[in-house]
Amino acid sequence: MTRAGESALTIGWLYPDLMNIYGDRGNILTLYQRARWRGLEARVVELGKGEAAGLDEVDVFFFGGGQDREQALVYDDLLETKAEPLAEAVRRGAAVLAVCGGYQLLGHYYQTATGERLPGIGLIDVRTEAGSRRYIGDVVARADESLDLEPTTLVGFENHSGRTFLGEGVRPLGRVLRGYGNNGDDGTEGVAVGNLFGTYLHGSLLPKNPHLADLVIERALGRRLDPLDDRVELDAHRRIVERELAGRR
């Protein structure tokens, strides 16, 4: 266990070539830059298929979304070479942010339209079932109060046909004010359990939600961060909140 300590942030990018759709690079770039702007030494470790080296050095994992074909390709590798070290990393305090397909894979299973259950790694207590209609559009959510975020809103863009359901007593990342969220039914969006964050929001998510980006880094490092000048990010954030809550254009 060689955690690099408080002056560095190691970002582990799971399957950058296969699970990287919808500008997931923006999330990596945001974690990286926000660490650097605070004088932390930041580095990105790419964890592709078959690669397990370096997993134990990661402070924060990012797991993005992919199309069906790509997602099917990472199942075996995730279960065989990543599940155990990932669970171990989480036990020692690493944070995980998973978006869309990555979010689904961290749960118990994904049930296809034909009823087949593809196992996830069960790191978080959620399950996903295929839906018929895709949920596509801008999302505004009220962050779960336990996260104590300021501003209290989260913004992003969703594009998924999976319906995700939280286990008993599991806290969502937030509740939708606009958009569909986890399943279009119970109003929840994403999940936040300890250092684990799952969500359907991309757009990219973190650049427009700098408060969430910092929360993820703080959980990964186990300490508070100094604030940055986030006027540009929060202007973009507020503009979408205002536009979407006023009704689209």
């Binding site: 070539d17 296969l18 990287n20 923006g26 298929k49 099917a72 801008d138 757009g203 973009a236």
Partner: protein, 454 residues
């Protein structure tokens, strides 16, 4: 009779639409005509003396279809085309209606239409084309199409429905297009590039990686030209790039204005810039060959073409030069940024809209290498409905010369104007509807001609 009535109503709508300055009248007349006669496009294209050619793919549709139309026109033949980029069935219908007589007959030799990828099945069914060119399939507007796999199956299904003698002209260098073509019951006319000197040795982005359609292994690229276009193979030997019958060799890129490429024994010199335009030129050449045009004639004709409307357009104002370029996805955008770098561009306006025609999801800007502008650009003005998202992107790219977000195009244009020194050059990179709005603004200011007049 119904077709005649449909033509009459459609043409009247087009005239009204232009007169009321609502735009070029590019789709509304089609909708009106189809409401009166749903088979108007089918009937009118059946009148074409030679037939129809369709061009589809994510990037380069407008330029490639203009090149093909120009090749056919140069033969002294009459060509109907949807030149304004309105590429749904309504746009194609509007184009033929505008050229048809009130007797409901179309007097022309060829129809050349750029067609939206998802619209291809309907277009093939109604127009029964002699040739369909599929240029590339990038991740574009996923919010509209859902999965690209589905789109690939849609295109495959459409190509299987080509009439007897119809040719699929396919880019062998795009693994997604190759996958479609290798599954067809008839042999496609493959084209591609063959010039390691202008290739990279690895993919520019992780996001460009592609997997083998048979075994799922990550494809190995020996050469990469644009995005995921290149020379590739499956490490397990299940799938590799088809050998192109028309291969572009000895590529020369000379700034924004000129490119040269050799196809077969013909040297093609074209007044267009950028490697992505080499694909457009070679694709148009391959299409012309499939339709029986002489290589020497095509080489001669291509020297004289002008860039497609709006995709890349030049204007001058107050002793300053401006280049306006359409940029709608990461691959296209990155090529334009590299092109502007070769032209030593330092002053930029970037317009990002999130209307339906642009794609409502703007996450793709995080796959654009705006880092290329850091330390190089003197001014970057973010504008459009998502100007604020662009401003965040520029901040994280380290572009310290970014101006504050200016959503209104009018104000953004003035900022750019104020920044470009006399004798200098400004670059305007815009998504589709931002481009249309910007162009309308430039027409109102009298710096450009209306596009229905070009």
């Amino acid at each position: 009779m119904r077709t005649g009535l449909a033509v009459l109503a459609g043409r009247a709508t087009g005239t009204l639409s232009r007169a009321s300055r609502r735009g070029g009248g590019t789709t509304l007349p089609g909708d009106v005509a189809r409401a009166i006669d749903p088979s108007v496009l089918r009937r009118l294209t059946a009148d074409l003396r030679e037939g129809a050619v369709l061009v589809t793919g994510t990037n380069g549709k407008t330029t490639t279809s203009r090149l093909v139309a120009s090749l056919l026109e140069g033969q002294g033949q009459q060509v109907v085309a949807n030149r304004s980029g309105a590429n749904l069935i309504s746009g194609a219908t509007a184009a033929v209606v505008a050229r048809a007589g009130f007797d409901g007959r179309l007097r022309a030799d060829w129809g050349v239409f750029e067609i939206d990828e998802a619209t291809l099945p309907a277009a093939v069914e109604e127009m029964r084309p002699r040739a369909v060119l599929v240029g590339n399939l990038f991740r574009d507007q996923l919010d509209r199409y859902g999965e690209l796999e589905l789109l690939a199956r849609t295109i495959h299904g459409a190509l299987e429905q080509l009439p007897p003698g119809g040719v699929a002209v396919l880019n062998a260098d795009d693994p997604r297009v190759a996958e479609i073509g290798l599954g067809l019951s008839r042999t496609p006319a493959w084209y591609g590039l063959d010039d390691p000197r202008v290739a990279r040795r690895e993919l520019p982005h992780a996001a460009d990686a592609r997997t083998c359609p048979r075994c799922g292994a990550t494809l190995r690229f020996e050469l990469v030209y644009c995005g995921h276009e290149g020379v590739y193979r499956c490490p397990a030997g299940d799938f590799d790039r088809p050998q192109p019958a028309v291969a572009g060799r000895d590529v020369e890129l000379d700034g924004l204005d000129r490119l040269g490429v050799t196809a077969g024994s013909s040297r093609l010199e074209v007044p267009l810039g950028g490697l992505y335009n080499v694909y457009n030129v070679v694709g148009a050449f391959a299409t012309g060959s499939a339709l029986g045009l002489e290589p020497a004639y095509m080489a001669e004709r291509l020297r004289a073409v002008a860039a497609a409307f709006g995709r890349q357009e030049r204007f001058e104002h107050d002793g300053r030069r401006f280049t306006m370029m359409l940029a709608k996805n990461p691959t296209g955008f990155n090529e334009l940024l590299r092109e502007s770098e070769r032209a030593h561009g330092r002053h930029f306006l970037v317009g990002l809209n999130d209307r339906i025609a642009d794609g409502r999801d703007v996450s793709w800007i995080w796959d654009v290498d705006f880092e290329l502008l850091a330390g190089r650009a003197a001014v970057v003005v973010p504008t459009g409905t998502r100007a604020h998202d662009l401003a965040v992107r520029l901040k994280y790219a380290g572009v310290s010369s970014a101006e504050p977000p200016t959503p209104q195009l009018d104000g953004a244009l003035d900022r750019l104007l104020g920044a470009v020194p006399s004798g200098g050059e400004g670059f305007l990179l815009c998504t589709y509807t931002a481009m249309l709005e910007l162009r309308a603004l430039l027409v109102r200011r009298g710096w450009l001609r209306p596009y229905w007049a070009t």
